[in-house]
C-alpha cells in the first residue's frame, strides 16, 4: 500500500497512523478492493476498501493505516 505523506514525515508533527485517528479521503478510482484516493491536501493514496460497502468515485471514506474503516454519509 503506497501512501503520501510518507511514513517518516508525519504532517504537522501529528502521526495519524500511530494514533487512533482516521483521515477523510475522496475516492478517485477503484480497482477491486483497492481505491485510489486523495487526502485533504490533495496527496494521492492507495486504500484498501474491503471493509466498507462498495465505493465509487466522488465518495468520501475514512482511512486508517491504509484501510478504509467507514464510508461517510452526506450531511443532511
Amino acid at each position: 500500500m503506497t501512501a503520501v505523506p510518507t511514513p517518516s514525515t508525519c504532517a504537522e508533527g501529528h502521526c495519524i497512523t500511530c494514533s487512533d485517528e482516521g483521515i477523510e479521503m475522496e475516492v478517485v478510482a477503484t480497482a477491486g478492493h483497492v481505491a485510489h484516493c486523495l487526502d485533504p491536501d490533495g496527496a494521492a493514496a492507495e486504500v484498501d476498501v474491503a471493509l466498507v460497502d462498495a465505493v465509487a468515485p466522488g465518495d468520501t471514506v475514512l482511512v486508517h493505516a491504509g484501510v478504509a474503516i467507514a464510508k461517510l454519509e452526506a450531511i443532511a
Binding site: 502521526c15 485533504p40 474491503a50 475514512l62 486508517h64 474503516i69
Partner: protein
C-alpha cells in the same frame, strides 16, 4: 474538502463557544475527559481550551495507544528485532518509545533491520518481496487500527505466507475506561467519546458509562467544531440532569459500528486474560492476541518472546497524566528532564500524548498566564 472545511469555520466556532457560555452552570466546575489522543492533539492544535469558560476543564484520557505500551513490551519488540533474519516493521511513533535498554531506533542503529510502515499491508508486501526474511509487524492501537491488522493477517493466511508474523499489542478502550471510572482519585462529569474507535465498535459499548456510572458520553469527531459541539452537548445533558450516549459524529459513526470490521477482528483476534497498561497496571480482558486459527502468524509463539515485565521509571508520572489526575505541566520532570527530544515517559514520545501535545502547543499560552 467536503466533511473537513465546514467543520473548521471560525465564525461558527465562536457561535458554539457563545452557546457553551450560555449552557454552563457558573456555580459548578465541570471536568470533561476526552478519551482519545487524537482529540487531545486537536484541542491543543486549535486552542479549544481557550474558547471554553474557566469552569469547564478538559482532562486528557488514556486513548493514546503508544503512551499505554509498557516498557516490557518494547523490550520484547527489540528482542525480536535483533533475531537473525528478522525484518522488523512498525509505525513511526514506536521507534522512539523507550524500553528498559533503549528504543527500536537504538536497535536499528545497532544493526537490526527496523523499518517504518504506514500500514500493516506494507509489511505484508515486504514479506512477499523478501521470502528469505522473517518479516514481523509490531501491531499497536485501539479498535481503529485493529481492523487493518486483522485484514492483513487474513490475507497472509489466505496466501499461505510463512515468513510473516505479527507481534500483537492491540488494546481495547472499554476496560481502561471502566478502570478509570472505578478509580477513587478520579472526578469526572462527562466523556468525549473516541470518534474513530466508535466508527468500528459503534455507540453501544459506551452505554455502561451513562447507565452504570451516570456520566454523559458524546461521541465526537476531530475537527474544532466537532469538539466544541461535543462539549456543548455534554453541558446540556448535565444541565438537564440527563446521562445518555449521544453521537455528535453522525457523518461517520453508525450506531452499530462497522460490522465487516468487527467480524474479521472476531475471526483473527481473541481477548487476552490480562494486559499491562503503562501507568494503569494490569487490566483484565483489555487487549487482543491472535486466535488459535492464526497461531502460525503469532510472533510471540514463533519467536518464543520472553515477556519480561519492567517497572515504569520512578520519576515518570505518565500514569497520573493518563488518569487525568494531574496536568502534564504538574509532572516533576515535564519540560526539564522529559522533553520530546529526550523523553522519559511515553506521554512525551507520541505526538498524541498529552505531554507532547501540551509541550508543542499549550505551554506558551500557560507561560503568558503565569507572567
Amino acid at each position: 474538502m467536503r466533511f473537513v472545511d465546514e467543520f473548521r469555520d471560525g465564525e461558527l466556532g465562536r457561535a458554539v463557544a457563545a452557546q457553551i457560555l450560555g449552557a454552563v452552570d457558573p456555580g459548578r466546575h465541570h471536568k470533561v475527559m476526552e478519551v482519545c489522543g487524537g482529540h487531545t492533539h486537536s484541542i491543543y492544535k486549535y486552542g479549544i481550551d481557550d474558547l471554553l469558560p474557566a469552569n469547564v476543564e478538559l482532562v486528557h484520557g488514556p486513548g493514546c495507544p503508544v503512551c499505554v505500551i509498557p516498557m516490557g513490551r518494547v523490550d520484547d519488540a527489540i528482542d525480536v528485532a535483533h533475531r537473525p533474519g528478522v525484518l522488523f516493521t512498525c509505525f513511526g511513533d514506536m521507534l522512539r518509545v523507550p524500553g528498559s535498554r533503549g528504543t527500536l531506533l537504538d536497535a536499528k542503529a545497532a544493526g537490526a533491520d527496523v523499518r517504518i510502515v504506514y500500514s500493516p499491508l506494507d509489511a505484508l508486501r515486504l514479506a512477499r518481496e523478501n521470502p528469505d526474511r522473517e518479516v514481523v509487524f509490531l501491531a499497536i492501537g485501539f479498535e481503529t487500527t485493529a481492523p487493518s491488522t486483522a485484514l492483513t493477517l487474513s490475507r497472509a493466511k489466505a496466501e499461505g505466507l510463512t515468513n510473516f508474523t505479527c507481534l500483537c499489542n492491540h488494546v481495547t478502550i472499554v476496560p481502561p475506561l471502566r478502570a478509570l471510572l472505578d478509580s477513587p482519585d478520579l472526578r469526572l462529569d462527562g466523556f468525549i467519546g473516541p470518534g474513530h474507535v466508535a466508527t468500528v465498535v459503534g455507540a453501544r459499548p459506551f452505554e455502561f458509562i451513562a447507565a452504570g456510572y451516570r456520566r454523559p458520553v458524546v461521541i465526537a469527531g476531530f475537527e474544532p467544531l466537532d469538539l466544541l459541539q461535543a462539549v456543548l452537548m455534554i453541558l446540556r445533558q448535565l444541565g438537564e440532569g440527563r446521562c445518555t450516549v449521544e453521537n455528535q459524529y453522525t457523518r461517520v459513526v453508525p450506531h452499530e459500528g462497522n460490522v465487516k470490521a468487527l467480524e474479521i477482528m472476531a475471526e483473527v483476534f481473541e481477548l487476552r486474560p490480562h494486559f499491562e497498561w503503562r501507568g494503569l497496571g494490569f487490566i483484565s480482558q483489555s487487549a487482543l492476541r491472535l486466535s488459535n486459527a492464526y497461531a502460525d502468524l503469532d510472533a510471540e509463539i514463533r519467536f518464543e518472546v520472553p515477556g519480561v515485565r519492567v517497572a515504569d521509571p520512578k520519576a515518570c508520572q505518565c500514569g497520573e497524566v493518563l488518569k487525568g489526575v494531574i496536568k502534564p505541566w504538574e509532572c516533576k520532570v515535564f519540560g526539564t528532564a522529559c522533553t520530546p527530544e529526550h523523553a522519559i515517559g511515553t506521554c512525551m514520545v507520541s505526538p498524541e500524548g498529552a505531554c507532547a501535545a501540551y509541550y508543542n502547543y499549550g505551554r506558551f499560552a500557560r507561560e503568558r498566564e503565569v507572567v
